[in-house]
């Protein structure tokens, strides 16, 4: 049977209808994106993360633990008690612990070595919830806020730092779990989204910088301030990976990979996110 002109024309109409639909959808999407941007900017007017920052500052200066000492001898990498700018250079290698540590790991270390907490006590409430506020998250909020505006500058030059970076990179691309997922499944391409959320491409510098410099964040959906340890913990949960242990070497390695990739960008957290 030969093609009738009518058929061809009908197909042409279908095609242009499809094009029109696509254009319409793209337009609707753009205006939705603009409105979401408005929503996000309206939230910036007041960030409840400040409530955590204030509580964290109090905790930093209060004698605590069996030894009843403050954190003022706690060295976050820039000398005992120095908070300003410290987070922008973490994770880093600490000779006294002979280990690469991120902020949370270092805080636990100070709580154990200086304040006399048991390790179990120091790690007992890493992520807060209703009626059980986390001291660690408050300290993280305060300390990270003291790096706001400071350029990310993670050295990664010590052999152990370099090793952590390389392990972190491997983890980022490692596929596993019941869904055969990797961090890279969602975060290694441009323009990926889940519903209305754009997913940052963390293998590109701009994406890594934008993502890393805006954590920790007050999570509107949870009404909690969330640390970077929480961010990774929850990514693992979403990938249906085994639970990422708080302050584990694996968590520090992945943090090292992401933090170093953000080098050069001004740190801008605690942020506020949906």
């Amino acid at each position: 049977m030969s093609k009738s002109p009518l058929r061809v024309r009908a197909r042409g109409i279908l095609l242009s209808a499809a094009t029109a639909l696509a254009v319409g959808a793209a337009f609707a999407q753009t205006s939705a994106v603009d409105e979401i941007a408005k929503y996000r900017s309206a939230l910036q007017e007041g960030n409840p993360a400040e409530l955590w920052e204030a509580r964290g500052e109090g905790l930093w200066k209060t004698p605590r633990g069996p030894n009843k000492v403050t954190f003022e001898k706690c060295d976050l990498g820039l000398g005992p008690g120095v908070v300003k700018g410290a987070y922008a250079q973490l994770p880093r290698y600490f000779a006294d612990a002979d280990r690469v540590m991120d902020l949370e790991t270092r805080l636990v270390w100070c709580m154990v070595k200086l304040q006399g907490f048991t390790e179990a006590d120091a790690k007992k409430n890493p992520f807060g919830g209703p009626n059980r506020k986390s001291d660690i998250e408050a300290l993280v909020a305060f300390i990270t806020s003291e790096s706001r505006g400071v350029k990310m500058n993670v050295a990664g030059t010590h052999p152990k730092e370099d090793e952590a970076y390389r392990i972190g990179e491997k983890m980022f691309f490692f596929r596993g779990g019941p869904h055969d997922f990797a961090c890279a499944t969602c975060h290694a391409e441009d323009s990926k989204r889940i519903r209305l959320q754009d997913l940052p491409n963390l293998v590109k510098q701009a994406g890594a910088q934008k993502a890393y410099t805006t954590w920790p964040a007050y999570r509107v959906s949870q009404g909690e301030l969330r640390s970077f340890q929480w961010r990774l913990y929850d990514c693992f949960r979403q990938q249906r990976f085994p639970e990422l242990e708080f302050t584990s070497d694996a968590s520090i390695a992945l943090t090292m990979f992401l933090a170093k990739n953000a080098n050069g960008a001004a740190f801008d957290a605690p942020a506020i996110k949906r």
């Binding site: 409105e35 979401i36 309206a42 209305l196 509107v220 959906s221």
Partner: protein, 157 residues
């Protein structure tokens, strides 16, 4: 159901007396009595019921009430920024209502003379809904309405 409604109306009646007293200048905001929480208004289900509980009737639509810093789409219904600014002369109070919430009234702000008729806060929305900005000015009620859509978030990113 009826019983409950009657209770609401009763509570509303009490509130009316309070509001009238306040409007007549017998009470000043900040007075101990002015701190009373208007249970009837906060238990009301609709705009009309709320207005009644606040001591008014049938609010007039007004173009002199504007929503500021209020997005058309909220990325999360747990926190929806709402700002209301009134240019109705003698604005005395601004209330924010979420039509489809279980109880419509979210907040009432009484503004003494000298306080600008503009407030902003954040409300919870169970679903996409109309938001009413209700203004009392010189004892009369005025309203403006805006729809805010609530989206579902992604997986947690």
């Amino acid at each position: 159901m009826d019983m409950h409604r009657r209770e609401v109306l009763k509570a509303g009646g009490g509130a009316t007396l309070y509001t009238l007293l306040a409007a007549a200048g017998f009470l000043k905001p900040g007075d101990a009595l002015a701190q009373a929480w208007n249970k009837g208004a906060f238990e009301a289900k609709t705009l009309d019921e709320v207005v009644k509980a606040l001591g008014g009737a049938a609010p007039a639509q007004s173009k002199d009430i504007a929503f500021v810093q209020t997005p058309d789409i909220a990325e999360n219904g747990a926190v929806v920024p709402i700002g209301v600014s009134s240019s109705v002369p003698k604005t005395e109070s601004i209330a924010i209502l979420v039509e489809k919430n279980p109880n419509a009234l979210a907040a009432v702000f009484d503004l003494p003379a000298g306080t600008e008729p503009t407030v902003s806060t954040r409300v919870k929305m169970g679903q996409s809904s109309n938001i009413h900005a209700l203004v009392r000015a010189d004892g009369k009620f005025y309203v403006a309405t805006k729809e805010v859509k609530v989206t579902l978030g992604g997986c947690g990113g």
